[in-house]
Symmetry: none
Amino acid sequence: MIDFPYIQDICQYTSSKIIMLVADGLGGAPHPDTGKSELESARIPNLDKLAGISACGLTTPVFPGITPGSGPGHLSLFGYDPVKYLMGRGILEGLGIDIEINDGDIAARGNFCTVDGNGNLLDRRAGRIKSEYSIPLCEQLDTIEVPGLHVSIFPVQDYRFVALFRGDGLDQNITETDPQVTGVPPRAVQAILPQAQKTAEAVNLLISKAQELLSGRDVANMIMLRGFSKLPQLPDFGKSYSLNPAAIAAYPMYRGLAKVLGMNIIKTGITFRDEIDTIKKNISKHDFFYLHYKPADAAGEDGDFNAKVKALEELDSFIPEILDMNPDVLVVAGDHATPSIMASHGWQPVPLLIHSKLTDGEGIEAFDERNCSLGSIGRISATNVMFLSLAHAGKLTKFGP
Amino acid sequence: MIDFPYIQDICQYTSSKIIMLVADGLGGAPHPDTGKSELESARIPNLDKLAGISACGLTTPVFPGITPGSGPGHLSLFGYDPVKYLMGRGILEGLGIDIEINDGDIAARGNFCTVDGNGNLLDRRAGRIKSEYSIPLCEQLDTIEVPGLHVSIFPVQDYRFVALFRGDGLDQNITETDPQVTGVPPRAVQAILPQAQKTAEAVNLLISKAQELLSGRDVANMIMLRGFSKLPQLPDFGKSYSLNPAAIAAYPMYRGLAKVLGMNIIKTGITFRDEIDTIKKNISKHDFFYLHYKPADAAGEDGDFNAKVKALEELDSFIPEILDMNPDVLVVAGDHATPSIMASHGWQPVPLLIHSKLTDGEGIEAFDERNCSLGSIGRISATNVMFLSLAHAGKLTKFGP
């Protein structure tokens, strides 16, 4: 949680219901030809109307200027200090492919790569070999045995895989093997702390056995590992806020994130249509729903302004169905901006609206960056969104006498 | 740095160039006759036009209501927590007169004062004696010897001087001698921590020898010392942000500040015209330039509204030359407000603009307090300005997976 140790004391169970719709990469930036952002360009009558009867504002995920990954972006929205609770790349990659990770396990992100006869890197991504070639290689690697440990290799996509290390006394404080340049050999893993010595040796043994096994191949004849990490020790979301929370997300990484926070994961399909059907069926069973919408971010990352506009319009079309479920509080937020003109995540503040029986409008005419900057919530740290959501739901008592 | 330990991890070297123009005392407050601030009253067409194609906002140097000195004001803009990295008065005074201060040295701000026959203070500033009288007195004081230490006395201006203590094991945790009232004697220095005992004794010995040397004079027959301080241990600016930074400042104190942060100091003349010529000659040699403009602050401190307006207009006339150097990012910021109606530094938020290829305007029509409050950056802590500057320059990678 953020730096407010009394949150658990002032949270109370009530029957009121919160839906937090997280539109991934919601915020954007003006297109140079029109001066209008994706939200300003999209025809989103339902969101605009909703903004008109909501409290609006802008959220900063980490600090102004700092662009978050999906991990920090979501943790902030859920009220967790994203700097204190930084999640490792290996863990997030593992969560993204829905594998089971236990406390104490170490996950690493793996790459196939190509080296020359002297072991020097020719291609850090092995020509981006396709999954049909890499999956059998992962299966081979998965057979490698490292004494005292259980090592599993899971394919992700193309040249990428996850290596999972299970055993006693593992320590993630070891260096990465990718030198980030070609012409030199991949680095050996080194212990950063003395207690990581055993882990470093085990990982190096895996790598040398992998090299042996892959030798003789022209491409993808070596592997590199980075982002060694364990599951972070996070306060339980439901206990912290006195909620019985559920997560509905088509993409596995977001389910994984929610699972780490202790949310109940409800099985759903691969589209937002599926997600909406799932929440409808389960609306009576929980008092907090995290509902994730991915397409806006994906289009923004592709640098496709028009596709992001369409994705936002598609999201808009589901708003009436969400309102029909009569949540006491509906939050529409984003984990970060994904400006199409940057074709990547951005640091820009993200539009936010909170609709409850306490909000009946403040003259905001549209749901976009400019209009939300004029809203009553103002510009806040994303880590405060949960406080506001709980407050609007009547779930927070007074702090201090 | 502010409380973000990962900044070094996400900074990357690029060829892009940032110019940060710090207009000292930039912000102001409305004149009671016109209701317009200095910036609103000034004819600054170049800054107004630049604001129209930039991201705008307001910065808070420390906290709302807290008026910073030049030290905290600048440290914030450079991304250093101004509370954590408070620079002592003795050090800042020493930097201001361009003297060499080594690690371990203690600098103190000194005053000549006048005492009566019983040693009670008659005048804490010795009638504000002029430099022509105080410089020879400083030369006399400089001859005093304190066993085991090297003590140097440097005149500053009028009744003010700097005392520099060099030697092994000095500790700055000692009390000040100025009782802040007349009618009582100056206080003896006392050790606040046991390890400062030796330092306290040495300083008291200097003071008693000074009193002896000055006795017989009617005015300026005693000294007082305060602000005992060492050079702060600050993270290196260039290393922290992966920059090769340069500072161009006509006033020595700002060069001194930049030097403490590890910036490269480029020799320049005494006017802003000189500074502009200097940056033009050196623009290819660095990727970050701190360019300091002093006159706005000086006029504000004098309580001269019109002079501050003129100083801002003079600054405006240099903007085209700065833009002609084609920096990838141009930041125009202030270390604090200096409202002429207060004739002193103020706590008011300070206008900020950041111009880059990512900014093409957000409807801001003028560069002043009111218009900047409507900009997309909003009101931010000044400690976030470096993050935004680096982000606009494409020098920051994503935080977290």
